[in-house]
Symmetry: C2
Amino acid sequence: MSGVTSRLKDVAALAGVSIRTVSNVVSGSGAVAEHTRVKVQAALDELGYRPNVAARNLRAGRTGLIGLAIPELHSPYFSELAGLLVQAAQQRSWTVVIDQTFGDADAERRLLEGTGGRVVDGLIISPWALSPEDLAAHARGVPLVFLGERSPGGLADRVAVDNVPAADEATTHLLGLGRRRIAALGLQPHLHNGTARQRHEGYTAALRRAGIAPDPALERTVATLHREDGYAAMSALLDEGVEVDAVFAFSDELALGALHCAHQRGLRVPGDLAVVGFDGIDDARWAHPALTTVVPDKRQITERALQCLADRIYSPAPAVPPQDIVVPHRLEIRASTVG
Amino acid sequence: MSGVTSRLKDVAALAGVSIRTVSNVVSGSGAVAEHTRVKVQAALDELGYRPNVAARNLRAGRTGLIGLAIPELHSPYFSELAGLLVQAAQQRSWTVVIDQTFGDADAERRLLEGTGGRVVDGLIISPWALSPEDLAAHARGVPLVFLGERSPGGLADRVAVDNVPAADEATTHLLGLGRRRIAALGLQPHLHNGTARQRHEGYTAALRRAGIAPDPALERTVATLHREDGYAAMSALLDEGVEVDAVFAFSDELALGALHCAHQRGLRVPGDLAVVGFDGIDDARWAHPALTTVVPDKRQITERALQCLADRIYSPAPAVPPQDIVVPHRLEIRASTVG
DNA sequence: GACGTGGAATGCAACGTTGCATCATGGAGT
DNA sequence: ACTCCATGATGCAACGTTGCATTCCACGTC
């Protein structure tokens, strides 16, 4: 009732039983006679007992916390993912602690090592700046799940969409609309991140299958995946006078930036320029025109990632080999390609 | 170095000193001779000692966690706010735990009471469904900061922008452009949330000052503040044939939904319809056309809120009276009103 | 009537840390 | 030479909880 915290000791005193018995009632373990249980429960309610998490954790050797390490929370893709994860984790009585790495390699390294950070029972990380080798070198004892990036040498579980076919599908969709000058927007050769590489691979595969030779002038590098970068890359492309009738952006944010640029230049979308994004963020649906995008099943990403953690945290068994989990995606076709 | 956790005991054994001395070195407290300090530090490094948070918390009676309770993480405004808060909290060695209430009154009540949830040292809550009376009735012993909603009876600190003048400013901007049929989009009479009421108040005040009588047909109610709701409200408005030359939406998401609708109907923005939003989310800048919006200083919101918590958590003093902190805002004028 | 049985309740100890009080040591002061 | 003191190092206890082992009691059985 009141805000004052009461301990097992207080409840025990009020109920006239031992601390241990109260503990049994609270945890539901051990044998407790019905009338005792009722009596203790009454005392619990009266004092508004709430277990001390720190003490429990100390005893259990767990914190009940799992970490989510993402480049940044304000990016729609990650905030949507984080929101789902927080929700899903709650159902498993876990609390999510979100860390932002801002694409900083040191920050990612620090989190993997656990230095300076709060101790978590497990960590779900969406690596960005670290190479697979780095990832392997700095992983700590805590159960780990990688999002997107595959871990080398079977270091940890990994959950991701199948980037190559997904990118292929998106590109093929544009090809099917008769587009031949399709820009690939979002290469990041300076990062060791494999995601961009895989999407590029799918893009190239689709072109080749259609008998089109990839044109380096159409492949644009970006520093990050923000709208600004998409805007800048699109602007440069147009400034250079490169002929282009479609854009496959490696993220929705990039696509939205490119879209903004197209509008500014007076290009009609999809008439003059068809645009496809990747991530299936909410904004995509409400853009003008609504953005065609590859939508990963985010709910499944969070569910599977948690399941991986649960398996490793709760089973002291001789760990099963790291799993590589592929979650489904679908190409959601909207007005930015089929007006 | 390795993933195995080592305790003060282990370090002490390796360094050949007592546990207490190691503790002194780690915490920097107490008197420790230089050569001892060096020796212990070496042992600490060698074993890669990391303090056990649970034990510390248990001893200190604090968890080092603060809660952030928001309606939903995937809304841009809240994800931007959360991102900033996580960052700012890190500097104060706090860890943020995010709870989503999804606008559910029960969820908000539960968080205020702390039932079932993890125990936090402080809670920053952005109330949505609860009335001020509810908020007062259910608050618990933990330091509390309200975002947006004023707490009644001096229950807790509150950080917010000054909604009435801000809304007034936005409306006045539209009036200054010669608009006379300005829709107010975002009323929520079914909620006890005061934010919408205040923005409506500012809107009305501006109209009256301009000698315009508020027209009920221009004031639109929404269920939530999502793009869908803005789209629906705008659609209804146009379907009813209400004459309108501008929209002041109480959130950017609503504005973006309305914008989407305007595009669909072939309205030119800002030619036929000028649009102003509220919140200053990132998307607003990249919409087509870029959205004029009231931008609250989000960084200051998080900073001030944390400062409030810090003051209450760390000062055992006879608490200062609850503060009502107003953070600055600015009207960012973009192409959706001045094309 | 003694004994075994099993359910119910309890006591002890430990998880890893830190506040407080105590103890050891060596140098300065008388 | 003896005391005094400052500095450095240590031991004890406690934070609130739970695993394990024990005790207690009532009941049924031989």
